[in-house]
């Protein structure tokens, strides 16, 4: 009797973090391709921009001109952030790259944390591991370690490479540290999202929504006069407010440190309060019978897409309304220096500035909406690999008819997002300028001319799904490449031929420019060819 009682004591006591190291190594092994790509991409761009700057702006006069131009055009502030000091290469890099790098590192860590926690639970693999000697907090901690570790590594490489490129050490350190800390904040956000959400898809949605909101919040704050405090609510705003290379304000680094600790603590507090495989919010029972309308592949696709589509539509409407309401005040942000006023006049005055701002917004909406489209198209691959597709194709539904259901949401869902964004952008701007009709007309047409560009990206995702299904995730690479080319290409001085690879380079910038049909027709031709090739491949290839 005593022997049996004593027996458990021989087993090493398993603590709450047991197995973390093994899980982290497993995560690194699974991410051995994707994570290095993220790290290299995010860490080397800043240092490699130094040359571009010195080439383009060799003299002090050039640099002062650049500074004046940036001060004069609030669309820049919306995209990149406040231009603190553009007379040095470091200041230029901090201005152009801080925001985007923080945005991208945020997406990286959210996806990474979800992939190694919630997604594992969804697949049932987590149960397999949980039955081994693995502590309650091990999976979350491993995911946090990998995502946080990648963030810190990116920061370190940035600091090293920027100093190596001849930039001041203090500024490089401020830049790298603020980016790494932004990564840590969003790692903590991801850790909370995976506790709240019922599925990994939802967790990714919550996480990316927070990252996107942080970017937009600071965009709104940076491009208005009366609401600058908005930038201080955003972790991405903090990355800029540290003012790397422009008399650093080191205390700003304390903000992300504190926020990381608070949000991280919430995640670890929530974790033991839910069961493995279930979110904090319990699932509700559904109907015993299907509604009469649930009788086609399109109806099934609607059930699968309606949640994300609704979320995105509301999101674009809100963002559109926020930026619409600040668009008309954009002229007021322009510095009062004679030089700034002169540049503004050359750009066409306050009205032209507003128009350029609205056109810039349309381009940004299109890029973001194309990500929705890619996600919707890749849902097909998700259904296929989750073996939910087989039972559907075993009924009298043909492969093309099934695909059509999802493609409707990929292509027309994106159109809906552009319409909702354009409608609210124009509405909010029109209410300020007392010209609702004209304003809405402007923004809607500005958005709609972008639609063929988004369709090219989405159609390419279909091509990959049809011809190279195992590499479907590469569709994100296509979308990301188009985005990076359009956003960062001009900064790193890519030739026009390379920039033109991105479909977002081609639509006319409306309002402010004339409508031209030719590029749109070409974009539509590319869309049709890519879509056709994808569907042909899909019809001919094996399922599974």
């Amino acid at each position: 009797m005593t022997a049996t009682l004593e027996r458990p004591a021989e087993v090493a006591p398993a603590h709450e973090l047991a197995g973390t190291w093994h899980l982290a190594r497993l995560a690194l092994r699974r991410d051995r391709v994707i994570l290095p790509i993220w790290i290299v991409l995010l860490s080397i761009v800043p240092a490699s921009t130094v040359k571009t700057f010195t080439q383009f702006y060799p003299t002090d006069a050039d640099r002062l001109g650049l500074q004046a131009g940036a001060n004069a055009n609030p669309s820049y502030a919306l995209l990149y952030g406040p231009p603190f000091d553009l007379t040095t290469a470091g200041g230029f890099i901090a201005w152009r790259l801080c925001g985007f790098t923080a945005l991208l590192i945020g997406l990286m860590v959210v996806f990474t944390v979800t992939r190694h926690t919630r997604a594992e639970e969804d697949s049932g693999r987590a149960e397999l591991l949980a039955s081994a000697v693995v502590g309650r907090y091990a999976a979350l901690t491993a995911g946090v370690l990998v995502a946080g570790g990648a963030s810190v590594l990116i920061g370190l490489i940035q600091v090293g490479s920027m100093i190596g490129a001849g930039l001041p050490a203090a500024g490089s350190l401020a830049f790298g540290a603020s980016i790494a800390l932004a990564g840590l904040v969003f790692t903590a956000v991801g850790a909370v999202a995976v506790q709240l959400a019922e599925y990994s898809r939802t967790a990714n949605g919550i996480g990316t929504a927070v990252v996107g909101a942080a970017f937009l919040l600071r965009g709104a704050g940076d491009s208005t006069v009366d609401a600058r405090w908005l930038s201080w609510l955003s972790p991405i705003g903090w990355v800029q407010q540290i003012r790397a290379f422009a008399v650093e304000r080191w205390w700003v680094l304390l903000l992300p440190v504190a926020l990381t600790l608070v949000i991280g603590a919430v995640a670890y507090w929530l974790l033991p309060r839910r069961d493995v495989g279930v979110g904090i919010l319990p699932p509700r029972p559904g109907p015993a019978r299907a509604a009469p309308g649930l009788r086609s592949p399109l109806a099934l696709a609607w059930r699968l897409h309606r949640g994300p589509l609704l979320g995105w539509t509301i999101g674009t409407a809100v963002v559109g309304a926020v930026f619409g309401s600040i668009a008309s005040g954009i002229g007021g942000l322009v510095g009062s220096s004679p030089q700034a006023q002169q540049i503004m006049e050359r750009l066409g005055g306050a009205h032209s500035l507003t128009q350029a701002f609205l056109a810039t917004m349309a381009g940004m909406f299109a890029m973001v909406a194309s990500l929705y489209g890619i996600q919707a198209v890749l849902r097909m691959r998700g259904e296929e690999t989750a073996i939910r597709l087989e039972p559907v194709l075993a009924t009298s539904v043909g492969k093309l008819r099934w695909a059509a259901g999802h493609l409707v949401f990929g292509f027309f869902g994106t159109a809906l997002l552009l319409l909702s964004g354009g409608l609210f952008l124009g509405l909010a701007n029109g209410l300020r300028t007392h010209d609702v009709g004209g304003s809405v007309g402007d923004t809607l047409s500005g958005m709609l001319v972008q639609l063929p560009a988004t369709w090219v990206v989405i159609a390419l995702a279909v091509t990959i799904f049809g011809l190279l299904p195992a590499y479907s995730a590469a569709a994100w690479g296509v979308g990301g490449l188009a985005l990076v080319l359009s956003l960062l290409g001009p900064i790193v001085n890519l030739p026009q031929g390379a920039l033109d690879v991105s479909p977002f380079q081609h639509p006319p910038k409306i309002p402010g420019h004339d409508f031209v049909a030719t590029p749109l027709i070409w974009l539509l031709v590319v869309t049709i060819v890519a879509l056709g090739a994808g569907l042909l491949g899909w019809r001919r290839r094996d399922v599974g």
Binding site: R289, A290, R295, I387, A394, T395, D542
Partner: protein, 298 residues
């Protein structure tokens, strides 16, 4: 139409892996056909070719008189499928999935649907993720059996069911048989195969190694004999096709291949038989032999 399923010389490779290698399978209309083989033998690949999900590399495949790849959508009106791994949409209830799959196939038998939900003790209000493996399988089984189709293709349909539900399933398949439906049943549960199947085909390494009724297959194997004789046995050891012979005084125990059974018994009766126990081979033995020795024979 003679055969609901007629496959001959079917090949299918995935990259360098040869999944099917000259597979043959004939299932006459109205038959319940067992489809057996060890893990990885190619059963699911065959089923997926039949469903038009995979394109055959070569060979002739006819399903309900049509080409399963080209005529997939129209043929699928006349068949229903239960996969071995059932994965449901997390935001659809089981009841919704049953209705949806039925409607996509062209209609459900409402009475049979209600009856099956009741008999399988299924809660149709639960959402996809909250079902256990067995319950997810029940959703797929109800969806398939409630549709009015000619052919049921069942790929290890009961691997997650409890014994009570297994009995319910067998009863339901008997009903399908009485309705004249053709069933292709891939299964590892031998009692199920024995209870339900008119004929079986055994495949290994992507080709058919045996096909016939269970009686015919048994014929190819051994019977165990235990006998108490009037005196010590003689001559048994000299017979061909006798295995594992054990003699203990007047008691004797051996396995004999069916074709030599007659001769072996003659040897026993010459000495005089006091008691005799004869055991036909169990299905387990039958399959173990096919699953293992055919591999070494290859």
């Amino acid at each position: 139409m003679e055969n609901a399923i007629a496959i001959s010389g079917l090949d299918k490779s995935f990259g360098r892996t040869k999944a099917l290698d000259g597979l043959d399978l004939q299932v006459p209309t109205g038959e319940v056909h067992g489809f057996l083989g060890p893990n990885g033998a190619g059963k699911s690949t065959t089923v997926r070719v039949l469903l038009g999900l995979l394109h055959a590399d070569s060979g002739d495949v006819r399903l309900l008189g049509g080409d399963p790849w080209k005529d997939a959508a129209s043929l699928h009106r006349r068949l229903a499928y239960v996969p071995g791994d059932v994965n449901l949409w997390p935001n659809l209830s089981g009841g919704e999935v049953i209705d949806l799959l039925g409607r996509l196939r062209g209609g459900l038998d409402e009475k049979r649907r209600a009856d099956l939900v009741e008999r399988f003790d299924l809660d149709p209000k639960k959402k996809g993720r909250t079902y256990s493996k067995g319950n997810r399988q029940k959703v797929a089984i109800v969806a398939a059996l409630a549709s009015r189709v000619d052919l049921l293709i069942l790929d290890e349909p009961t691997s997650g069911l409890d014994p009570l539900m297994e009995a319910t399933f067998q009863y339901a398949i008997q009903e399908e048989r009485e309705q004249g439906r053709t069933v292709l049943l891939s299964s590892h549960i031998l009692a199920e195969v024995e209870a339900l199947c008119d004929k079986v085909s055994i495949i290994r390494n992507g080709h058919t190694v045996e096909s016939g009724t269970l009686a015919e297959l048994r014929h190819l194997t051994r019977t165990s004999i235990t006998a108490e004789l009037a005196g010590p046995p003689n001559g048994l050891a000299k017979l061909e096709n006798i295995h594992d012979l054990k003699v203990d005084g007047n008691r004797v125990r051996f396995d004999v291949e069916t074709r030599s059974l007659d001769e072996a018994l003659r040897q026993l009766t010459q000495v005089g038989v006091r008691s005799l126990v004869s055991q036909p081979p169990t299905l387990e033995e039958l399959f173990l032999r096919h699953y293992t020795t055919e591999a070494s024979a290859k």
